[in-house]
Amino acid sequence: MYELLWLVPALPCAGFLILALFGDRLPRRAAPFIGAGSVGFSALVSFLIAYRFFTAPPEGEHFSQVLWTWMNVEGFTCQFSLYLDALSLVMCLVVTGVGFLIHVYSAEYMIDDESYAKFFAYMNLFVAAMLMLVLGENMVLLYLGWEGVGLCSFLLIGFWYKNPANGRAAMKAFLTTRIGDTFMAIGLFLLFVQLGTLDIQEMMQRASQQWAVGSGVAVAAALLILGGAVGKSGQLPLQVWLPDAMAGPTPVSALIHAATMVTAGVYLIARTHVIFELAPSAQFLVAVVGAATLLLAGFAALAQRDIKRVLAYSTISQIGYMFLAMGVGAYAAGIFHLVTHAFFKALLFMASGAVIVALHHEQDMFKMGGLRKKLPVVFWTFLIGSMSLASLPIISSGFYSKDLILWSAFASEKGSKALWFAGFAGAFVTGIYTFRMVIMTFFGEEKTHVHVKPGWVMCLPLVILAICSTFGGLMEIPSSIYHFPLFTHFMESALPAAPIPHEGLEHAELMLQVIAVIAVLCGLSIAVVAFGVKPQIARAVVATPFGAKMRDLLFAGWGFDWLYDKILIQPFLRTARFNKDDFVDLIWNGIAALSRGVHSLLSETETGHVRWYAATLSVGALLALAIVVLL
């Protein structure tokens, strides 16, 4: 069974090749079958492997498959090999499973698009690259997938390239993640030079043997990897690309936010957790970045008008939770949240996409409203997703994962009360912005007429994901309710358990859960009151000068774009303008101009008059003679 592992990335890749090479010649109806089918079969293989992994785990709880030798140069060998353990298995399931549902959804969503086949080709390549990222046994393959994901995000965000704004958004995403990629590349060079191998497991083993805890090399490597993860996952300070990435089609947003791309950073940190364990200061920074990001993004989501931008900021915020979990050493908790987040965020994006299509490509929430009765399936699934996002207790998967993170942040030896409080405040804000979105979209009076209703192809993935969002959290039930740590137990073969002391905290867990639940419910009620029952409250707050300023600041995502424009882009443009003619070129242009001048001077002497030649010849002879004689 495990020998079929290569099929998992190969199938979407084959789908991409078929669609890219023959997409224009194939009948239009074939494109979704190839596009979604390849990912579907890949998901099927993943599930079979997962079943096998549960029933008969491979030796050492991991399996590696060498496909061929990629390069072999003078003692350096790089295998094209796949590595499967609990972590990459979970990632595979998420990528292929959620990815498949998004592909199915796209089949209807993109039906009117002229580049139907091209869209599925890019999507397939996206999934293939992400699978390569999570299955690569060595850093080179991981980096291949990493860059492939970046490329596909560029292609898909700018998919509707005829609008220049979309092209700009794609460029922004590409360039911003490129900054992170550069950090990561340098980090990989450092690791390779220091440890002499690119195989990830080997690398981790050598790192723990050779480096002392807190040594400079370990901290440097961890910080460089963190730089890469921050760029890809849209964390502070490189989060600016993610809201603008909403320029792409909605299924692309779902794919980027739920299954691929942004989770890559979390995966990377989990994969290289040994290095972070060796660099406590860097790991603490991971937690701080996560905490700061989840708060900032959560507040920014409060003031957005565009439904997709709210979701984008909520993604940044939720990824912040995952980073927080990574930072306090609760890797399994972070991955658990990654899984549940993939369910409910894909669900929310696709449901919002259905709303957007129904309202004829209207994304402004202020122009929506009252859609509850018109789009019941979309409403109920969206509501389930929102509950999960806001982590309403018991009935939503988000509750279990977020609760685990909050508990780890509080109780872990690497956590602190401040980190817990940040997560707690984030949960409160999440409650507000989530239900603000729900109320503005589905309640109140109808402002825009419903254009088309989504068909069953779009509804089916919504329903499936809604079921997953509701019951997916039951993989892991906190001990305060009923001790059932299935997920963390499963992950223990790949990731160490969170360093939580066992004594003296039995009652704290339940208490914290109650406090968090109260905070979420408070947020929910505030949203219901301020945006649903008495909208004048929200209007009054915004009407005050401070409120207006605050709203503008939050609307602009805390002004990071403005800041980067001022401190990075403008100086760069000024320098570029100043050095438009590249002063280094002056030397070479000068040489060219000099030789051109000498050439024209010399060509002037070529008169065609024989006597003139004779005269110059004799002058030359005279000079040569004079030099010999007189000197």
Binding site: E606, T607, G608, H609, V610, R611, A614, A615, S618
Partner: protein, 102 residues
Amino acid sequence: MASVPMEHALVLAAVLFALGLAGLLVRRNIIFMLMCLEIMFNAAGLAFVAAGARWAQADGQVMFMMILTVAAAEVAVGLALLLGFYHHFKTLDADAAEGMRG
């Protein structure tokens, strides 16, 4: 037999060479230019012979004969060119061929 300083013979050669050069530079008529070339060849040969005479060796004379050969070949080709030139341009003006510049 009396003797002459070698320098005097060489002075004669130098003067003849300079005259030939001046003529070459001044005259536009190709016949005259070829003639001046002959004068210069002759002057060069004279210098060889004088040098050979200084050490009473035959080498100078051998060299003169070589120069003579070159001068003969040159004048044959030069005059043939001259005829072709005149046939083409209907003039003996050397500057008429300025169109041949690269």
